[in-house]
């Protein structure tokens, strides 16, 4: 039961973009077209799920038993950077079709703070292995949901007459604020 709750909390209640404000850069940068936003969302979900599993193993099998928690940040960032690089090579070789859609988004993900945030939160809350994976997957689905909704709205905004100073990042932030307001309606739906 806890696993299901953790998943839904990560998707809806504590949405990574709209509640924790992580992954804002791709959220603003890659949300102009629905297609690109969907690909970005899938790539992020993929990397997040794997990162949750790998950093759980590192934290619980290496850092904690050997008393090295001060190396947490350094080891996570190295693991994430190499993992993304490795995934890129793996997908390019094995699934060239998938690579065509996700390819350009993978390198961008290294500097996506949402990925590091998954690793930090699962360590901070001492989740179990399966719960961590559910959390990573849920966070990715939540990110995809937010960025696709945003892209849908921005495609409509293209034809709207926006006052000059608000064009670009400013109106995107305000739309995100309204979205965050809507997502607050999910508060209390599931308790973690």
């Amino acid at each position: 039961m806890q696993i299901v709750a953790v998943f839904f909390v990560a998707v809806l209640v504590n949405n990574f973009v709209l509640y924790y404000f992580v992954g804002i850069c791709p959220f603003i940068g890659v949300s102009k077209k629905v297609d690109a936003a969907t690909s970005m969302g899938i790539a992020v979900t993929f990397v997040m799920t794997i990162t949750a599993a790998v950093t759980w193993l590192i934290n619980n099998l290496v850092l904690i038993p050997f008393g090295l928690p001060f190396l947490e940040y350094v080891s996570y960032i190295v693991v994430i950077a190499s993992l993304v690089q490795f995934l890129e090579m793996f997908i390019k070789k094995t699934f060239p079709e998938l690579y065509k859609t996700l390819g350009i988004f993978l390198p961008l993900i290294t500097t996506n703070c949402a990925i590091l945030f998954v690793a930090l939160i699962q360590a901070m809350r001492s989740y179990g292995f399966i719960t961590s994976i559910a959390f990573g997957f849920g966070a990715g689905v939540g990110f995809t949901l937010a960025i696709v909704i945003m892209a849908g709205i921005r495609e409509q905004l293209e034809v709207a007459d926006i006052p000059r100073p608000f064009r670009g990042a400013a109106i995107t932030l305000i739309v995100a604020g309204v979205l965050a307001l809507a997502f607050m309606g999910f508060t209390g739906l599931v308790s973690a």
Binding site: G23, E72, Y73, I77, P165, R167, L173, M184
Partner: protein, 207 residues
């Protein structure tokens, strides 16, 4: 580049190329921790600390690091200073450390830091790099503090914990909750754009 003084490097980051309002970098901490002016100030100071020392080390090791592996090397340097900043906050300012929570380690992936190291520090001598790091850090801190102060004022009627509006003011809770962050930053950014279009000399876009 030659006739530019250290002061002008500092000033560019502060206003004309402000990392938050103009370059739209480092959005995660900007939105997440600015529920009060003091949190914004602390986050800005921690980020400036990390940027300053990482830029210094990155300029020094730049000559011996092959360019193919430079990004991982910078990431490790930044992560090291973030760990130091985190431990200092935990040891000397426990309430602030608790308020900033997981957003302190997230300084590692603050794109402003990697961006400044990549775009400026490794292409310039150490002194201008340090001036640039301080300017960008000050611009970032200033933006966070303004955002934090506005949200604290509207959301709690206080600035830096000092009561401004008195007890008759019903606090607009929404300003302290997540949506407030997006709304206030969006409006501030539009205001900044508007002022830049008016061509006030100090705000003029750096060419």
């Amino acid at each position: 580049m030659k006739n530019e003084t250290l002061l002008s490097h500092f000033g560019k980051g502060l206003i004309q190329n402000n990392p938050v309002f103009v370059q739209v970098l480092g959005m995660c901490p900007t939105l997440a921790v600015t529920t009060s002016a003091v949190n914004g100030l602390a986050m800005g100071a921690a980020t400036t600390f990390v940027l300053f020392f990482s830029a210094a080390i990155a300029t020094l090791v730049n000559v011996i690091v092959p360019s193919q592996v430079r990004i991982p090397v910078y990431a490790v340097i930044i992560a090291t200073f973030v760990t130091i900043a985190d431990l200092i906050l935990k040891a000397f300012f426990p309430p602030l450390s608790a308020a900033l929570g997981p957003y302190v380690p997230l300084i590692v992936v603050n794109c402003m830091i990697l961006g400044r190291i990549e775009a400026f520090a490794t292409r310039n001598p150490i002194l201008p790099s340090l001036a640039d790091a301080l300017g960008m850090g000050a611009g970032f801190t200033g933006a966070l503090m303004v955002l934090g102060a506005i949200r604290e004022l509207l959301g709690a009627g206080e600035i830096f914990g000092a009561v401004i509006f008195g007890s008759a003011y019903p606090p607009m809770l929404i300003m302290i909750l997540p949506p407030g962050a997006f709304l206030v930053l969006g409006i501030l950014m539009a205001l900044f754009n508007h002022l830049q279009e008016k061509d006030i000399p100090i705000l003029r876009k750096a060419g």
